[in-house]
Symmetry: C3
Subunit: 164 residues, 3 copies
């Protein structure tokens, strides 16, 4: 930086870069909090990751979950509880995050593991491409949209991962 | 920030935020160093992640490993060496980190993969919830306590993940 | 920091620390972008991760891929397309990054998952130790060298992970 750059300008530049770094870390933390939230059956903690009107399109052909209240209902559902009782892990990889002001996109993989009591080991039931769209709200970053597509050879998953 | 905020105050705020960011990255690096350390059989590198009196409670019902010297012994043990000779990977996901001054909590998953020579592919032998408690010491962040619980449907793993 | 430290010195220290943090995040983003790039069949995006003369030694005994143009060719190859059509995920864990000026080393795991249509679930076809050597160039961090070794019990993978 040139010797004539004022202290005020240097400080402003540092503050802006730091905010960019904090955004990237906050979004990473948000995505990495999803697994512990759903695998512990914490309905409120899961819902709090989503924007009030945020969406979760978790599978081609299945109904889209609309809104954070519906996320909480999903976690409390008998179907989800049956997963937990069997032994289940929603393993998410750290996302590649791209922040653009008050919006961001994050790409990662989710791998659903189930315990198989007959063999005593785990199976990888689902591997999905994940595209998260995040929005900065009054209380920080939240999920505006999350879309998952199974990596079973279909074009939909490839399109999701190409859009990063 | 208001125009009347002094340069000194702005600098102090930036320094504090930056330290918070560095802490989160240091803890992430610490957790992500565990796999390479144990899978390469590096006893000293593994021990150096732990506080001298740090604990590793790796399985319900098994003895807790107490202290960094005991961590080194674990890595040097015939049992651990047999894992390595067979083909083994301690795959840890990036942790969701929450820093609070000189203490921090990190939640992640560990997935132990073993090579199966009969099939030429790998099996997922164990999937565990991980809760790390970190402490800042004179030479940086170290593990004060790590607790793993298998995600086989038991309440213990869910309680661990809920406590983030 | 002592009360006599000048504003200029404090700013310079903050700028240097911030650059170190940005480097670590940029390298993490680079590594985490590999999976989405190859699994979407994005040849240019994959090539752009590598330095023009960067290398990818992906398997003991196989030819080393030399240069970013050869990376693009790999992604366009019939062999790679067959993987995608079958259903394939190159799942990389977040790397443990060590930055040293304009060079860096990152260690992580890669887990290749394939969809198995007969069973409807996924298999873990390969689990490899990964050592990335990164270089800072005129347009940011790029891969100078990436070496993978299968974790099938051979010494090569352990040596790779020990060198962090």
């Amino acid at each position: 930086m040139s010797a004539t750059t004022s202290v005020d300008d240097r400080l402003a530049a540092v503050e802006a870069r730091l905010r960019r770094v904090e955004d990237e870390l906050a979004i990473t933390r948000l995505v990495l909090s999803y697994g512990p939230a759903v695998d512990s059956g914490s309905a409120e903690a899961t819902a709090a990751l989503w924007d009030d009107g945020g969406r979760y399109d978790f599978q081609d052909g299945a109904p889209v979950i609309e809104g954070s209240a519906a996320m909480a209902s999903m976690v409390r559902s008998p179907g989800h509880r049956a997963h937990l009782a069997r032994g289940c892990a929603h393993v998410l990889t750290a996302p590649a995050v791209r922040v653009d002001g008050d919006r961001a996109v994050a790409l990662c993989y989710s791998l659903m593991h189930h315990y198989v009591s007959e063999t005593g080991i785990f199976q990888v039931s689902r591997v999905s491409a994940n595209r998260w769209e995040l929005v900065r709200g009054p209380s920080g970053w939240r999920v505006g949209s999350r879309v998952n597509r199974l990596l079973t050879g279909d074009e939909a998953a490839r399109a999701l991962l190409a859009g990063g």
